[in-house]
């Protein structure tokens, strides 16, 4: 298994950015250091034509450390190639830079991740809940959110 071109190009300009990589089941994946995510995404978009952010989501791997993982699915619409970018985040400081300047679609996707996982996006100017209501406390897709906890707006606890 040899390094793919995106990996080599990123290593040239940002030698510490790529922490790991794999090509499991044909899905090419780069694991990137959190601080350099914007630089790496800029290279991928401008030099490799990954002009579409298909999805942006997160995974809670409790009790693993680092606990959270951001997952970005990129696609080059012209050549139909796909790339996954993952970033691992510590539980104590789940923060990462916003991608809105690169991909405007990231706005709502990042609000969804904030809503359900409680990962903050630095530079996002409208960090409000997207799915749930403002009064909701906590982030329900975290593994330590109690399965039976209910927070109804009206009516009794059910």
């Amino acid at each position: 298994m040899s390094k793919f071109p995106e990996h080599i190009a990123i290593e040239k300009s940002h030698p510490t950015a790529v922490l790991d990589w794999h090509e499991q089941f044909g899905d090419r994946t780069l694991i990137i250091e959190a601080k350099q995510i914007v630089d790496v995404m800029t290279i991928l978009r401008d030099a490799f034509g990954y002009n579409m952010l298909v999805d942006l989501t997160a995974v809670d791997y409790l009790p693993r450390r680092p606990r959270f993982e951001m997952v970005y699915h990129l696609m080059n619409v012209d050549s139909h190639t796909r790339l996954r970018v993952k970033v691992q985040l510590e539980e104590s400081h789940p923060r990462i830079a916003t991608l809105i300047p690169l991909y405007p679609i990231a706005d709502w996707l990042e609000r969804e991740v904030w809503d359900l996982f409680g990962i903050k996006f630095e530079g996002h100017t409208n960090m409000k809940r997207l799915m749930l209501y403002e009064e909701f406390e906590g982030h329900p897709l975290r593994k330590d959110y109690p399965k039976t906890k209910r927070q109804p707006l009206i009516g009794p606890q059910n």
């Binding site: 749930l132 209501y133 329900p140 906890k149 209910r150 109804p152 707006l153 009206i154 009516g155």
Partner: protein, 145 residues
């Protein structure tokens, strides 16, 4: 409503102190035809897709002279709650219910609106019973019309 109660099952109705009412289906149908109920469709989820199919031209529930949809709660007699109700939309349903003029009825279609259905989670109201009283539960997942 009194003519609805003139059935052999009256004793059970009394013992349940108004929470449950039994009647014959023909009587219910006749009563609904007599008063020509207008409905307000509160359509939220996949049951709503079946409602749309039922209401639109292919199946056309209007050909029975029933199910005349009013999109203002002030003109409606029956609220049809068709689909999953989340905690976020529950206050809106409550407002619609409060705006409907008396006498009013609520029909809850499907398992989701009646008891939460498969969605026993943080987001879904486990049955609209506490938001809208005076309801009728039709507790079966809507199938194609």
């Amino acid at each position: 409503m009194s003519e609805l109660l003139q059935t052999p099952m009256m004793d059970m109705t009394r013992s349940m102190s108004g929470a449950v009412m039994t009647t014959k289906f023909d009587k219910l149908l006749g009563w609904a035809r007599k008063y020509s109920l207008f409905q307000y469709p509160f359509v939220t989820a996949c049951c709503g897709m079946e409602y749309m199919a039922t209401a639109c031209s292919h199946y056309d529930i209007d050909r029975f002279g029933a199910a005349f949809a009013r999109f203002s709660p002030r003109q409606a007699d029956v609220i049809w709650v068709v689909g999953t109700i989340s905690h976020k939309i529950a206050p809106i349903l409550k407002t619609i219910y409060d705006q409907t003029a008396d006498p009013k009825w609520v029909v809850s279609f499907g398992a989701c609106a009646s008891c939460g259905g498969p969605y026993d989670n943080y987001a879904t109201v486990q049955g609209i019973g506490h938001d809208c009283s005076g309801g009728c539960l039709y507790s079966r997942v809507s199938s194609a019309p």
